[in-house]
Symmetry: C2
Subunit: 441 residues, 2 copies
């Protein structure tokens, strides 16, 4: 089992926001899954060797030639986070040819060359994992592959472009028009200087092509997906939709139209377009730059995956997940007969104990029944104050009981503080009963 101590050599193609996020995780392995400490970044391809970086890094592993990184014999797994079609596609194919597994966040390449890439990977016996290509940090690719295989998938419906969801959310909230909100999104870094691929729906189309291929087991031509963006959306549509009980969202949908049967050729409906979503639908409350993917299948019913659809940290989380999956299998294969994939097998790596309950903090809801005497709220407030319990609201509600009913919501305080306060409040002559005490999130 000694080989379990061997590290897995990684070559990083790109050290922009996502690449830096990946390196940050690998360089601070404490508190993460122990497998993170088995990852060793051996080589990094960058555009500019001289650029100042937030990351402390051994500059001798940097190179401006990404092909050199792929070919480096110390690099066992290639992590492509440079983006763009070329040379990214060629670098991925070269890595596969050299028998190296690949992790990529590149939805444009995977949506267009997914079949070519997976055919080559299967022939070479290597993995190409793409969790970061859809939904940023949200685990969606691997759950679709590994957790829903027993289902006949009927439909995948996603809010999978954070820029357009931010713009539509702001137009809804502020009544501002498309162009003003786009400018605001660009200032906040939520939209690129050239926002075309996002606002015209092409980014979402790349992603639904990928999800559809995994959900339904066969690829369709990326170029043939009917795609409408949001740049022509007027505030009027949003207002009227809201008045009729809908939210307007840019949805990407892939749907299986027929009953499943033994027939191997299947008809799918794919589309990307602004769509009215009823406001009791789980996707209607997905706002800002968040993404969500709803999957309908038989027999699971509906499951939804929700979270940050973009950003350096979440995307790096997904890239590292893929690296760990490959590292786990490599370590299993390199080791003895009875070795296990350390991700699938459950292992303890830390001693845990329960914290002292008095030290746990949260908000509180307290309902008090008191005599309807003047000054009772003041007495209660004083006791909370003495115990440094800060109050969010204290309200006397209409009540048909004798006396008065007072509801207190506290800010976040320790259980010790609230318990000591309530013990003292209970002793007040005006307080008849502490009728309820609940936690708040």
């Amino acid at each position: 089992m000694n080989t379990m101590n061997k590290k897995i050599g990684i070559g990083l193609l790109g050290l922009g926001t996502v690449g830096t996020g990946v390196a940050n995780i690998v360089f601070s392995s404490a508190g993460r899954h122990p497998l993170v400490s088995k990852i060793n970044i051996k080589r990094i391809a960058v555009r500019d060797l001289q650029r100042k970086r937030s990351l402390e890094i051994d500059t001798s592993i940097l190179t401006t030639d990404p092909f050199e990184v792929v070919k480096d014999p110390n690099v066992e797994v290639v992590v492509e986070v440079m983006g763009g079609i070329e040379p990214a596609r060629s670098l991925i194919m070269l890595a596969i040819d050299l028998g190296k597994s690949v992790v990529t966040a590149n939805k444009a390449v995977v949506a267009r060359y997914g079949k070519e890439i997976s055919d080559a990977a299967n022939a070479a016996g290597v993995y190409v994992l793409i969790e970061a290509a859809v939904g940023g940090g949200i685990p969606i690719i691997e759950p679709l592959k590994q957790s829903l295989g027993g289902n006949k998938i009927k439909k995948v419906t996603g809010i999978i472009n954070g820029t357009t969801n931010f713009i539509l959310s702001q137009m809804t909230k502020e009544g501002a028009n498309y162009q003003d909100v786009l400018n605001q999104a660009q200032e906040l870094g939520y939209a690129e200087a050239d926002p075309g691929a996002d606002v015209n729906g092409h980014d979402a189309a790349d992603k639904i092509a990928i999800l559809s291929g995994l959900a339904f087991g066969g690829s369709i031509k990326r170029e043939s997906i009917p795609t409408k963006g949001i740049s022509n959306i007027e505030n009027k549509e949003i207002n009227y939709a809201n008045q009729l009980g809908y939210e307007l969202k840019l949805l990407a949908i892939a749907e299986h139209l027929e009953n499943y049967s033994e027939i191997k050729e299947t008809s799918l409906a794919l589309r990307v377009e602004p769509t009215l979503v009823p406001n009791d639908h789980p996707l209607s409350t997905v706002n800002g730059v968040n993404n969500a993917i709803l999957i309908e299948g038989d027999p699971i019913g509906e499951v939804m995956f929700y979270g940050p659809g973009a950003g350096a940290g979440p995307t790096a989380s997904a890239v590292v997940a893929d690296i760990l999956n490959i590292a786990g299998i490599k370590l299993m294969q390199n080791s003895g007969a009875k070795s296990l994939d350390p991700l699938l097998s459950a292992s303890s790596w830390r001693k845990c104990h329960l914290a002292n309950p008095r030290e746990i903090s949260h908000k509180n809801y307290v309902r008090l029944i008191t005599a309807d005497a003047p000054g009772v709220i003041g007495s209660i407030g004083n006791i909370f104050g003495n115990h440094k319990v800060s109050i969010e609201s204290i309200v006397q509600f209409d009540s048909n009981i004798e006396g008065a009913e007072i509801i207190v919501i506290t800010h976040k305080v320790s259980k010790g503080q609230i318990i000591d306060s309530l013990l003292e409040i209970k002793k007040l002559s005006e307080v008849i009963q502490i009728a309820a005490h609940l936690s708040c999130l």
Copy 2:
């Protein structure tokens, strides 16, 4: 690669609702992941051999002795869906001793004996997978193990008991009291005859013990988790909470209190209790028997997994996912040097094509600008009627433009019907413009 055609022999312990759900999936593999067809149910332990079953099954594989199933040499993977502590625990341990991997939905056993079981499994080199033990069909166990390993997990917050969430949702919606709603839940089959483990929070405590162990890498004593149920909740609390902008939910929470560091011993706060959730929080809209688990980590931020928390179909979906994970690894290990885990590698198994766009159906939103002439709504309605487009609503909104603004929401109709209708409507002399046409979910 011939061994890839070998089937994996399964022994099923229990043929109740979940066991029957698993068998239903395995016996109807068309349209599911091709790996499903590699699963072969070799032996099934039942309580009563004579019982009439909805399932057509070869009765010669049934037995009343579950130990016989575990020991059967044709059984490679043991699937425990019988529930209860004993003999389930002993059967799981026996399977491990015999070198067989186990899939179990048994949260009570895993929450109490998880460490003993995983230690034995790791020593024997077998897997014990438990996706169905928490969150019914929602993929949460494997995403936590496989997709979030790069993160320092800070907090896990879950609505993980469907019965209590149904009861609290109904109390909120209908203003009915606890006992009446519990009776209703029992009639609907959402609560058991003896609802104690659910309403007292013990089922949720089992599940948060399991999630905490996976999220933080170390186990805590199941019995020491502070647990409060919902049986004392009065409608008053729900009403006041709603008025203050909160929903009342039974939450299970596991939180890491300190900063992560190299220190191996760590302090956790766990609790199960009715908790006020602000109504802009993603967990506040999780209603009925649905479950959701929110995970906060660094660098991912917040991700949420949402879906059906119980039921035969969803739970069977999770059990089959685990069987497929083990089958995938077994097939990889049995095959040649370059073979891959068929779940991790992406493969096409079906030819797909895009459906004729005119045949795709959905609801529509149409905004028309018309002359303010009497009868225009009638003319429009007639044209939709002629094309068999059924109307959900047709509203004339106040508008500051010349003429009138009419919004039509259709029921679900094919794209062909709506396009043909709009072409004809455009020709009406009263219609100035079709100002917008959008899809609705």
